[in-house]
Symmetry: C2
Subunit: 618 residues, 2 copies
């Protein structure tokens, strides 16, 4: 399987791009012409640089607005093609991408288009070059792959084939089911790109919002399956135009691109177990059974302050580590570890980020498989130094360097054995409902690739929320059965709560943790009577709840006294929750939630109330 | 004229918004319901706060998804309306915005919609409230203002009128010419918003990209004229959903909003000189005759370095100020002043921004009018302390605190008299072709309002350019006859050349100045022979020029030796230019340009070559 990527997909100068692409593991690279134009060396220098890096130049692209023009223009276009073929020979590349013409002047005559394409094919043949004709989704007359194929078929030259680009095809709503009559050897090249579903002009969508397979919402897996079933065994090549990728560091983007091809191959293999194509296939996925504990890195002082913040939520200290300055706090099924062991891994994390979530532990069935998957996808593992009688907890490093511990849900919860345990009084929480992370703008796709590839997590649609000082975007990832839920929040503005939280960590970090309550109203009533201070909710909010939902059997009347919030979905499932004021000037906060019925959301309509209340609180 | 704005248009908490809105000069405010919900005080508190600030609450909005639902839902909706009417009474507001229903469940029955609207009108009447029905551009059945009017007319109640929103009407391509049969007294309310032209889903466009009148491309002036001609004398109210405004400081956005209404009134007055409406009308615009000089704030050392950077471009020192440490450098019609006078205004600017453009001087006919306009639009003026025999140069402060001096083009160029002058050898440049400013992301609209309102500058369409480390957006403003041209460049990414330049200034600042050459090839040939080092251009770029344009009569063959760049527009007009390497690690650079024929652009296709070359240069 030849894995390739277009230089336009990553940031940097051409040498930076090529180095990062080779280091990520790719075998091939499409040279996007502008990257060559901007490079001070010659095409032969680029050829040598690629050869030294072990990269084949799989494609030279794009060649535009060729067919169907005035005869004078056509002569100039053919001369332009001749110059580019000459350049390609210096580059050592024998495939060129020809995009369908987008000029308003191009003729609609099928015959003229075919005869023009025949001429470029004849010329290409003299250079031993194959031209691949691609239907841009916004081409003037040729904008679906079947249009392109009709012309390629009519030309019938060995030097002219078709380029299939998943974005152009899927964005138009086409599917490859309709390609029975295209012989596989007429597929000159395959370009792959995913994208989030967006209602906008397809050209703008394509130029700014493409992403790697798995980061978006197009049916890439079915696309790759259909093509593989057809017998296509040529290069798979990524071609991504993405404003974020243009600004993100080169190396991690290139790595994510490589992972996205592995991921897509794995999806294809699942759908085509009998395929003879050399597709990547990793260990099977695990089953997820929720978050067992979360762990904070803290100083001695912070540990005190964190304990003082947890106690009003009904947490009590359930244990001390047998050999380290590590405390276990607990309320029912919710476990919080506070690690203030000097000179430890957590201490190192603390030195970089301050008081922050340094680890989370998931109950899984199939930890070994996940560790294997992480390695296959190129993510580092971690094994903490441990005392002679202490348990080993294997972990995978997340993109911010925090850890995800894996605990076999089938076995006893061995990690307890490292603590001197004592009973705790409360059983308010069944566990951790969700962990919301704050991300620097631009790093969403990097995180999405991690959870999608190693863990097989699924994406909900992204939505945006108003903070008083800017919009916040929220992208939820969850395990297939939703036992682990991870909203990722980010904001372009620098003054929102989330942006200030991210700035205080100097990177990604916990925004909030939501504890799942058995019976929120009873729990909160008791905790507040004992002194818990919830984040204050404006009275106007409750008036609006009544206007929106009516009395709801008296339930709504009980909320204001508790400062509890409420949301109901279209199917009548409800969500009750409260927030705490932020810990340490907005770094993170806690939430208590209760899901009624089959409620699957996160109370988004109330998040704006919280964001405003937090600003008021400050 | 009652000037109003919706609270959603600016950032901040409700008290911050109201204070900024009052301080900007508005008489009225629309309370966007969410701002009330998030506010800890009661509606009566908000009423009092507005009264204390001298603000009338002109509208309560929005009330959504009311008409045409199931009868059970309709009863709930009517109860919801009753609660909101009650709230409005506490708020002291007697007009409510009712948006057309966007629910897929709403009935298409005209009669049902009318009977539902009649019911809310009857209820509103009991509260002495008037409901204004607005066609959202994406309403399920009612999405054009004529649809809304047909229903309002059928209801025929004094408590139900129509709300006209310029965005919803103009975005659908409708014009008010078609409103003859709508009596002016049935217009409950008028909302105004502009927007750049964008090919995207109208809902997304409306929710994220609205802007103040004059900042976008919709025909707002004609819209306001038609309405005023019709006899509408009610409030003009801004309703802007803009991601940038949500993140920008509250006070300057509110001020720009107020200016945008003045601007729109002025446009209306021009188109309706006979109108009896109390429309704002400022002094007439000036005529612009180019940039007379630019002035750098510098230290003693920087002054040396700047001189050393100008000399290879053929500049020579043409004068020293009679009383200050201020030098005049000149090549033909291009004047550059370097100001390193200690304890001066320029020194103060230097202390804040380092070596930077602190002023530009424009030749104008009508300086006094412009000064009056600046004051009317709320921009500060500046008059430098000057010696007894020195000339006064009036100036207007730009948004970054730099100055725009106004020099009456009719009179002698009096500012020369302050210098001991000496002749200079070269006449390469006719003047300054354009000044490109780098802006922090989010401040575009603030600058656009300044040049549009005071100076009547015009907008070209925005475009984007690839820097190796992120996309760059460019928005050109120019005087009506294009004698003054000001590209504004900005970038969301922090690693682009423009972002690093902006960071080095800690704000807006000069990105480059382009000197206009009489004969670029001759000038550059001579200057380079004398040692001028242009920014190096890759050879591949020249190969591509040949492929794109052919030999062009031998012209293109002369370019590589000079490192000159070339662009040709669709009509055959050409642009020749060279860049210098950046001054002080990318802070700014110089460009020499020659426009051939009627070329009106800025060589955008070459900007990416420059951006890459500058990264390579570093």
């Amino acid at each position: 399987m030849q894995r390739s990527i277009a230089t336009v997909s990553v940031s940097g100068t051409l040498p930076e791009k090529l180095n990062a692409i080779a280091a990520a593991g790719f075998d091939g690279v499409e040279i996007f012409e502008n990257d060559l134009l901007y490079y001070p060396g010659s095409p032969a220098d680029v050829r040598q640089m690629c050869a030294d890096l072990g990269l084949t130049i799989t494609l030279f692209q794009p060649f535009r607005d060729f067919e169907g023009m005035s005869r004078q223009q056509f002569a100039a276009n053919l001369e332009r093609a001749r110059r580019k073929f000459d350049l390609m020979q210096q580059l050592g590349c024998d495939k060129m991408l020809l995009c369908s013409n987008v000029s308003p002047q191009t003729s609609s005559s099928f015959d003229l288009q075919v005869s023009d394409l025949a001429e470029i094919a004849t010329l290409a043949q003299q250079f031993a070059i194959e031209v691949g004709y691609e239907a841009l989704a916004w081409g003037t007359h040729v904008n679906r792959f079947r249009d392109a194929w009709a012309r390629v078929k009519a030309v019938d030259s060995p030097a002219l084939g078709i380029v299939l680009d998943s974005f152009h095809i899927l964005a138009r709503g086409d599917r490859l089911g309709a390609m029975e009559d295209i012989p596989v050897e007429k597929i000159t090249f395959l370009q792959l790109a995913d994208a989030p579903l967006m209602k906008m002009d397809v050209l703008e969508w394509s130029r700014h919002f493409r992403c790697f397979p798995g980061q978006g919402e197009l049916p890439l897996a079915e696309f790759a399956r259909d093509l593989t079933a057809k017998g296509y065994h040529g290069p798979w090549s990524l071609e991504i135009f993405n404003d974020g990728f243009r600004a993100f560091p080169t190396a991690p983007t290139a790595k994510d691109g490589y992972r996205s091809l592995l991921w897509l191959e794995e999806q294809t293999r699942k759908r085509l177990p009998e395929s003879d194509a050399p597709l990547f296939s990793s260990a099977p996925l695990a089953r997820y059974d929720g978050v067992e504990f979360i762990e904070f890195a803290a100083s001695e002082d912070d540990a005190c302050a964190l304990g003082a913040a947890l106690r009003p939520l009904g947490f009590a200290q359930a244990g001390e580590h047998r050999s380290k300055k590590v405390e276990l706090w607990r309320n029912g099924g919710a476990n919080v570890i506070i690690n203030h062991q000097p000179h430890s891994w957590a201490d190192n994390f603390y030195q970089r980020h301050g008081v922050s979530l340094c680890a989370q532990a998931w109950r899984v069935k199939g930890a070994a498989q996940l560790l294997k998957r992480a390695q296959d996808y190129g993510y580092p593992l971690w094994q903490e130094a441990h005392g002679p009688d202490e348990r080993e907890l294997p972990a995978i490093c997340a993109p911010d360097g925090s850890l995800i511990y894996l605990i076999e849900s089938a076995g006893e919860e061995g990690w307890h054995a490292d603590f001197h345990l004592q009973p705790t009084p409360n059983k308010d929480f069944t566990g951790i409902d969700h962990l919301a992370l704050g991300l620097p703008e631009g790093s969403r796709d990097n995180w999405v690739m991690f959870f999608r590839s190693v863990f097989g997590f699924e994406l909900d649609s992204e939505y945006s929320l108003p903070d008083p000082y800017g919009l916040v975007r929220s992208q939820v990832l969850h395990s297939p059965c939703r036992t682990i839920r991870l909203p990722l929040n980010m904001s372009q503005s620098r003054d929102t709560q989330i942006a200030r939280s991210v700035a205080s960590y100097q990177g990604s970090g916990l925004q909030h943790v939501a504890f799942a309550a058995n019976d929120l109203l009873t729990t909160v009533t008791r905790l507040e009577a004992q002194g818990m201070q919830p984040l204050a909710v404006p009275a106007n909010y409750y008036d609006d709840l009544l206007a929106r939902y009516g009395e709801s059997g008296g339930l709504l009347a009980t909320l204001p006294a508790l400062q509890a919030l409420y949301e109901r979905d279209d199917r009548g499932n409800a969500f009750l929750h409260i927030y705490t004021p932020p810990f340490r000037e907005g770094r993170f906060f806690f939430e208590i939630v209760e899901r009624k019925g089959d409620y699957q959301q996160y109370g988004a309509s109330n998040a704006a109330v919280r964001l405003a209340a937090m600003q008021t609180h400050q």
